[in-house]
């Protein structure tokens, strides 16, 4: 492993400030992991900058000396994207944790990257507003990380993923230039949309240092319908009939029986014995019309499900929402031993393709005789296939094969290998496969060329998104 010369370390420390650098091995150990099973390298230094100027100065030194840089905020990535694949330093933007500005009439809030999403919404709630992107990790994930992965979440069916909610940004490019992109306005038509380019860029272009985010008034009222099914096709038909009737649910989630089992206690509701799938739909509306909308949706779902539970009590709704948000983590209880890992997949297909895709995926999993559960955001066609794997060379080989086969199923249904978690190092081969199958490898070349403009020395988050053969 290449180590930094003391001269470069001194230069970096001088511009970042000694108090903003972690040097010792013990302090750097936690940064070898994000929330995925992928373990990264120990960073040579961890820089905890306080502002964009410090970041720009550090990046200038790094790019002119070929020092690799990985960026991190909440460290909740599920794809290995916030740990080091190549030797180098880590920039952690958690110290930049301030909410800088709020403008209700113009509908924006300005944040630093280290603001955690739940903290942001706790703040906005006081004004009866909210920021809709809500990955299940919102307690720990941040503005910086969620923009960089274009995070989705439960509410994405109605509000879309993070990309719909970022108006502009301040960003330090890989070669150390501080740029501002976008506006404080809800509309703009002014050349290339660089802001859009930064969203989902997974730290490969530079470091986000400020974000102008769009906000919404909190929905006046919402209610929840839980329904139970034997067959996934019925779930698919129920949700598409609801949508065809002009109702866009606030959330629309499905879970298979094993997932339901993992959160059964936390949901604390009666689940009919025949249940193979559970559908959870939230509908929001004005106080006046919520009841009518709920009845309309209930009537539609009744055609496919004989048991329906309607919940409007806020406390109970929160209980079930939190249980669903904890679904991935709750699956841990089903591990056979502590060494077994649960790898969470993240495919997406057009919503109409979901029942067929699910059936094919289930068949493939059964062929491999591997334990896997399925849940996801049925409203937008996002399936999380959670594979229980032995963390051994052979175990991981099976997982890699299965991931590839499942990815091919999604691609064949006009879908994508990642809906909201990003590519990281985990899925870079799958992404390549997606563009190969679509006969559009040139798209990947264009992406690389764009990276080259932002980061000409290719120091930023190497090994993420693009597969690089290690030397």
């Amino acid at each position: 492993m290449k180590t930094l010369s003391s001269d470069i370390i001194k230069k970096i420390v001088d511009v970042a400030g000694k108090n903003n650098v972690l040097f010792t091995k013990e302090e750097k150990i936690p940064y070898k992991n994000d929330a995925s099973y992928i373990q990264g390298l120990l960073p040579e230094l961890v820089i905890m900058p306080e502002n964009a100027d410090q970041i720009a100065s550090v990046l200038k030194i790094c790019s002119s000396n070929g020092v690799n840089v990985t960026v991190r905020s909440g460290g909740t990535a599920l794809t290995g994207s916030s740990v080091l694949q190549y030797p180098g330093i880590l920039i952690n933007t958690m110290k930049m944790d301030k909410i800088l500005d709020l403008n209700l009439s113009s509908r924006y809030v300005v944040c630093q990257p280290g603001v955690r999403l739940d903290k942001l919404n706790e703040y906005l709630k006081k004004y009866n507003f909210f920021y809709p992107p809500d990955p299940a990790s919102s307690r720990a994930s941040t503005v910086g990380g969620s923009i960089s992965t274009n995070a989705g979440g439960l509410r994405a069916v109605k509000y879309g993923a993070t990309k719909e909610w970022v108006l502009g940004a301040e960003f330090v490019t890989g070669n150390g230039n501080i740029i501002t992109t976008g506006e404080y306005t809800l509309k703009r038509s002014a050349g290339y949309d660089i802001t859009a380019l930064l969203i989902g860029s997974e730290g490969t272009l530079g470091v986000l240092t400020k974000a102008i985010l769009k906000i919404e008034p909190l929905p006046e009222e919402s209610g929840r319908i839980l329904s139970f099914f034997r067959d996934i096709s019925e779930v698919g038909m129920a949700i598409s009939d609801v949508k065809n009737a002009g109702i866009t649910p606030l959330i629309a989630e499905f879970m298979d029986l094993q997932t339901v089992d993992s959160i059964r206690d936390r949901m604390n509701i009666d689940i009919p014995e025949y249940t193979q799938f559970l559908l959870m739909i939230d509908i929001d509306s004005t106080k006046k019309s919520l009841n009518d909308k709920m009845i309309q949706a209930e009537e539609i779902i009744k055609k496919y499900s004989s048991d329906i539970i309607v919940i409007t009590d806020k406390g109970k709704m929160d209980e079930i929402y939190n249980a669903r948000k904890g679904a991935y983590s709750s699956l841990l209880k089903q591990r056979e031993n502590d060494k077994q890992i649960v790898i969470i997949g993240d495919l997406i297909v057009p919503a109409s393709e979901l029942p067929d895709t699910m059936k094919e995926i289930r068949r493939k999993i059964d062929e491999h005789k591997i334990k896997a559960t399925l849940f996801g955001h049925i409203g937008d066609g996002n399936i999380h296939a959670n594979i229980f794997a032995e963390n051994t060379v052979d175990g991981m080989k099976i997982v890699d094969e299965l991931q590839m086969e499942i990815a091919r199923i999604a691609i064949s249904h006009r879908g994508c290998v990642s809906a909201e978690h990003g590519i990281g190092t985990e899925k870079n081969i799958l992404l390549y496969e997606e563009y190969r199958k679509k006969n559009s490898l040139y798209t990947l070349e264009l992406m690389k060329n764009i990276k080259n403009v932002f980061d000409p020395e290719n120091i930023m988050n190497r090994g993420k998104i693009f597969y690089e053969k290690q030397d």
Binding site: N19, L22, T24, K25, E26, E27, I29, P30, Y31, K32, N33, D34, A35, M48, G74, G75, T76, N92, M94, K95, D97, G114, R116, D118, E122, S137, R139, A140, G326, S329, S330, L332, D338, K339, V342
Partner: protein
């Protein structure tokens, strides 16, 4: 390492989601240095037990844990990073798997020698000079927490103006020559001493007015060894607790009234773990109050002690406050209450101060008036005169 298997079985469940560090008060207070937060503690413990590398300086990570147990409330795998810190501190103290903190060592030596964290039991009972107690099988055990606060506040003031290395060297010296701690009798915050003594007197007055009969042992009052437990000296703690239990039994004590959450927690939950057939009845003083308090009608907010609500203990203080005042709980309340930072005051004063400032702001958003129910919380949060200990707030409504 003795606790290795236990630690391993806990940390191997971790999925590294970081939920715990989002509520861990020490992480932002330590400028987001990961090992000073819950997930970092878990990952460092995992690393340390698998690579016994003596050169690693891992102690601060575990000593700085506030033992508040906020982390376990949100961990999807049910992991308690506070408990892992306790086990690691035990490994450090008993097996020297890493450097022992000199302040911790000093406290241990003083407690073991004088059965009192300041070596001045006579000072610690002065508050009760003119109070009469009953002959009873029920004993008031102050745990010395109220009495300790004026000294720790003063020592920290001094520490701010002295060099850190000098302070550590002095602690090391006292660790070697514990009698030097007796000098501390001269170093206390005068205003806080008056307030803390008044709190204790008010507690006694409320209990006596509620017709509770109890005794107090004055300068013979034993310290329960809370610090030995908190700092991981489990061997010493076991022996100490055993001696104390026998002493209490020899005095025919059947029931103990505690006045602070730390002493209550250690007697209620830790003593039974180390003493076979422990049969003392441990009660919290608020649960014995049987008075018709006047309504204050005032808007207040409350700092709920983590050693009560997050350690799974129950108490009646909140019920009482709800009947007399208009309680506006802060954003972090109940099972998501936030620590005041107090437990770090001696070893990590900066972290302690940063946590307390954050919590103070957080509470102030709900109400100008703050009521605390623990002497550590009062000491940490009393940045203005609108902060009052439960004992003093309620006394005015008697």
């Amino acid at each position: 390492m003795k606790n290795r298997i236990e630690i391993e079985s806990i940390v191997n469940k971790c999925i590294k989601c970081g939920f715990c560090e989002s509520v861990c008060p020490t992480l932002p207070a330590a400028d987001y240095n990961s090992i000073m937060g819950a997930r970092g503690r878990i990952l460092l413990a995992q690393f340390a037990i698998n690579n016994e590398d003596q050169s690693l300086k891992i102690s601060d990570s575990f000593y700085s844990c506030l033992d508040c147990f906020a982390c376990v409330q949100v961990c999807p795998a049910g992991i308690n990073a506070g408990q892992v810190s306790e086990l690691m501190k035990e490994g450090i103290a008993d097996e020297k798997i890493a450097r022992v903190n000199p302040v911790a060592e000093m406290i241990k030596n003083v407690v073991v020698k004088y059965k009192n964290p300041l070596g001045i039991p006579e000072e610690c009972s002065k508050w009760a000079e003119n109070i009469e107690f009953s002959v009873s099988e029920t004993l008031l055990l102050t745990g010395d927490m109220y009495q300790l606060m004026p000294y720790t506040r003063y020592i920290n003031k001094l520490r701010k103006h002295t060099n850190q290395t000098l302070f550590m060297a002095f602690s090391w010296l006292i660790g070697k020559m514990p009698f030097l701690i007796k000098l501390s009798r001269h170093f206390y915050d005068k205003k806080l001493k008056l307030e803390m003594e008044s709190s204790l007197r008010n507690i006694v007055s409320m209990l006596q007015r509620s017709e509770v009969k109890f005794n107090y042992l004055r300068e013979d009052e034993p310290y329960p060894g809370t610090f030995l437990y908190d700092l991981g000296y489990m061997n010493e703690f076991k022996e100490y607790a055993g001696n104390l239990y026998r002493y209490l039994k020899s005095k025919n004590v059947k029931r103990i009234i505690c006045v602070d959450p730390h002493t209550y927690d250690v007697l209620k939950n830790k003593y039974p773990d180390v003493i076979e057939n422990f049969d003392l009845d441990i009660v919290y003083y608020t649960d014995l109050l049987n008075l018709n308090f006047k309504k204050s009608g005032e808007k207040i907010t409350v700092q709920e002690p983590c050693h009560m609500v997050l350690h799974g203990n129950t108490y009646r203080a909140m019920d009482i406050l709800n009947t007399v005042a208009d309680v506006k709980l802060p954003a972090n309340s109940g099972k998501s209450t936030m620590c005041c930072g107090g437990p770090d005051e001696l070893l990590f004063p900066e972290i302690s101060e940063n946590v307390s400032i954050e919590r103070y702001r957080n509470l102030k958003n709900s109400s100008n008036k703050i009521v605390t129910i623990c002497p550590l919380c009062y000491n940490s949060l009393s940045y203005d005169d609108n902060v009052q200990d439960f004992s003093n707030f309620m006394k005015n409504l008697m």
